[in-house]
């Protein structure tokens, strides 16, 4: 009986030892990965912060997009925020990778799906902010430009541009997130087409006179005296 007990014990310990031996390298690898993750993430944050500071990102962002630094919603500067986002993304990804190294099925599947999704999420966020800023800026540029070109439907045009940019942005965002792809294509097509049509109609109707005048001007020779104003 002792023999048997002994054998079973040996078997058991052998089994455990085997399991541990099987498991241990994974742990070591995971630990190394965690460590590396921290290092890489910190380095990346530093690099991003440095790079953004070097190009005076905050000042430029303030001038370009929003109405100067005070309008930035958070108290942390734009570049700090970017650096932080990079840091945390890398960190989370790194941790997930190290979980996979443990070879546990559950987390690894989770890891893989999250792993696949996170970049999309981040990209989507980035696109959204960029799109919103661009829409605002472009809308105003178009408005001013159109008014200066004496187009009666300047506001409509600027609104159309704004919504066009926003729509494209939203479509890109949803596409990145993989939400309702097919319906999205359809809806986007309809909306986009609608907007363009509406804009075209509005422009056509609103700018009818302007267009007529412009054409007239082209035909009529010589141009009216007003056009001969030398401003400088």
């Amino acid at each position: 009986m002792w023999e048997r007990v002994d054998r079973i014990l040996r078997q058991a310990t052998g089994h455990i030892a085997e399991r541990v031996a099987e498991f241990l390298p994974g742990v070591v690898v995971a630990l190394i990965l965690v460590f590396l993750t921290f290092v890489v993430a910190a380095l990346a944050r530093l690099a991003v912060a440095r790079a953004l500071r070097a190009v005076e990102f905050d000042r430029r962002a303030g001038q370009l997009g929003l109405m100067g630094p005070p309008a930035w919603p958070s108290s942390t500067s734009a570049s700090q925020m970017m650096a932080r986002a990079v840091y945390w993304t890398l960190l989370i990804l790194g941790l997930l990778v190290s979980l996979t190294a443990l070879n546990a099925t559950m987390p690894s599947r989770l890891a893989l799906s999250v792993f696949g999704y996170v970049p999309h999420l981040l990209a989507a966020l980035l696109i959204l902010t960029g799109g919103a800023i661009a829409a605002q800026f472009l809308a105003r540029s178009v408005l001013i430009g159109a008014v200066n070109m004496r187009m009666q439907s300047a506001r409509l045009l600027s609104l159309a541009v704004k919504w066009l940019v926003l729509l494209v942005t939203i479509a890109m965002v949803l596409d990145h997130l993989g939400i309702g792809r097919t319906i999205l294509f359809l809806a986007f097509g309809i909306l986009f087409g609608g907007v363009v049509l509406a804009a075209a109609l509005a422009l056509g109707l609103g700018a009818k006179d302007a267009v007529a005048r412009a054409l007239e001007r082209q035909v009529r020779e010589p141009p009216p005296a007003e056009d001969k104003v030398d401003h400088v």
Binding site: M67, G68, G145, N148, A154, V229, H231, V232
Partner: protein, 417 residues
């Protein structure tokens, strides 16, 4: 900037000295440059026969044989200078001429190197240059003890409207010198002023591309220099310039505002403007008709669509007055001089506070300018030069009276939104 000194035609002339240097800036002017060179040489030999003179040509890499045409027309006093080409992405300037700051700098450096006592600069696209111009631009420097000679062109109501309505009144109110065309491309200056100009730190700035002429005039007005004007008759040019009004306005006014921001210590302390003597008689000009309908339409459209943007820089009182103007029938639309001055001053302050991207701010001024121009034209329609000058004088007095408004707001700025 040694690289600017290389010259191709007359290497020995480098060591020579000259009392007078006439600088020519050219860009694809093969058709006109010959006449300009001949007029300049004619003027030099007629009025300054005893002085050693050189013509310095700074050509912006013309592709149509401008240099050859100049050489052909010249009787030998021509020196060509090269200068670094402008950055590729530089905006096309309202004067339609790339790399103007570098060209002017090369000319002034050449004048300094040659030891010139007087230097004049002309653009070779001009078709109205006469030999008298040389005398008018350089004579006051050599014989009258003046340092800076600014041209005074006889301009009709439809010419130089931005200068008449914004640049001249504001320049005069701020810097105290009554220079009617401070942003002109032609000028004469003394050796002392050449040195002062070369000493300025704005040559390499991005905005110099469009603002250099104005900035040089400001530098002269702000220093201890004797200034006069030279009546040159009409200014006619053959060069096609980009005609988009809002771009031109943004470039010219932007250059003015940018400089205002950097000379606060000077203009805040300058009081009263001083008349500038004019050399030569001012000719009479024929009235020119201007169609104001389009201008008024632009103004109304602007009011309707850009009012929201204007509220970033203009106080409510101004917006309401503009609203009243919009309602006026076209023949009774009249911008009050003080209202116009306040608008320009508010835009200058908004530019310096960066309440909006500066390009947006400047371009949104266009409809207001159109409205003002319609009002101005309505008041001087069919008038001669004297009447126009009188009207501009009144406008300037408005700008001078409202200067205290600008100073007060500048010293104690409160954002409107």
């Amino acid at each position: 900037m040694d690289s600017t000194g290389s010259n191709s035609s007359a290497e020995p002339a480098r060591a020579a000295r000259a009392d007078i240097v006439v600088g020519l800036t050219s860009y694809n002017d093969a058709r006109t440059i010959g006449a300009v060179v001949r007029a300049v040489e004619g003027g030099l030999s007629r009025y300054f026969e005893s002085s050693a003179a050189r013509i310095v040509l700074a050509d912006a890499r013309s592709a149509d044989g401008t240099r050859e045409a100049a050489r052909a027309a010249s009787s030998g006093a021509l020196i060509e200078v090269d200068y670094p080409s402008p950055k590729a992405f530089a905006a096309v300037s309202y004067h339609g001429y790339p790399g103007r700051p570098a060209a002017l700098r090369a000319i002034l450096e050449a004048a300094q190197r040659l030891g010139a006592r007087g230097c004049a600069v002309l653009d070779t696209a001009l078709v109205s240059v006469t030999p008298e111009w040389i005398e008018r631009l350089i004579g006051p420097v050599l014989t009258g003890g003046f340092d800076y000679v600014s041209p005074y062109f006889a301009r009709r109501v439809n010419e130089g409207a931005i200068t008449k309505g914004i640049v001249y009144p504001m320049f005069r109110a701020l810097y105290g010198a009554r220079l009617r065309q401070p942003a002109a491309a032609e000028f004469g200056c003394s050796a002392r002023l050449v040195a002062h100009h070369l000493d300025q730190d704005f040559w390499d700035l991005e905005q110099a591309e469009t603002g250099i002429d104005l900035w040089l005039a400001v530098a002269a007005a702000c220093g201890e220099f004797r200034i006069c004007e030279a009546s040159l008759g009409a200014r006619a040019t053959s060069r096609d310039t980009p005609s988009d009004l809002s771009t031109t306005l943004a470039q010219v006014v932007g250059a003015l505002f940018a400089d205002v921001e950097h000379r606060v210590e000077i203009w805040q302390r300058t009081r009263k403007s001083i008349p500038v003597p004019v050399a030569g008689a001012v000719p009479e000009i024929a009235p020119a008709p201007v169609n104001v309908e389009g201008l008024i339409e632009a103004f109304r459209l602007g009011y309707r669509e850009l009012r929201d943007i204007w509220t970033w820089v203009l106080p409510p009182r101004t917006i309401i007055e503009l609203g009243r103007l919009v309602e006026m029938p076209p023949d009774r639309l009249r911008f009050d001089d003080r209202l116009w001055a306040n608008i320009i001053y508010d835009f200058a302050l908004g530019y310096s506070l960066r309440v909006l991207p500066q390009e947006h701010l400047l371009r949104s001024l266009t409809p207001l300018y159109s409205g003002w121009l319609a009002s101005f034209v309505g008041q001087v329609d069919g008038a001669g030069l004297g009447e126009i000058e009188q009207r501009v004088e009144e406008l300037c007095l408005g700008f001078e009276a409202e200067k205290r408004y600008l100073i007060a707001r500048w010293r104690w700025p409160e954002r409107l939104r």
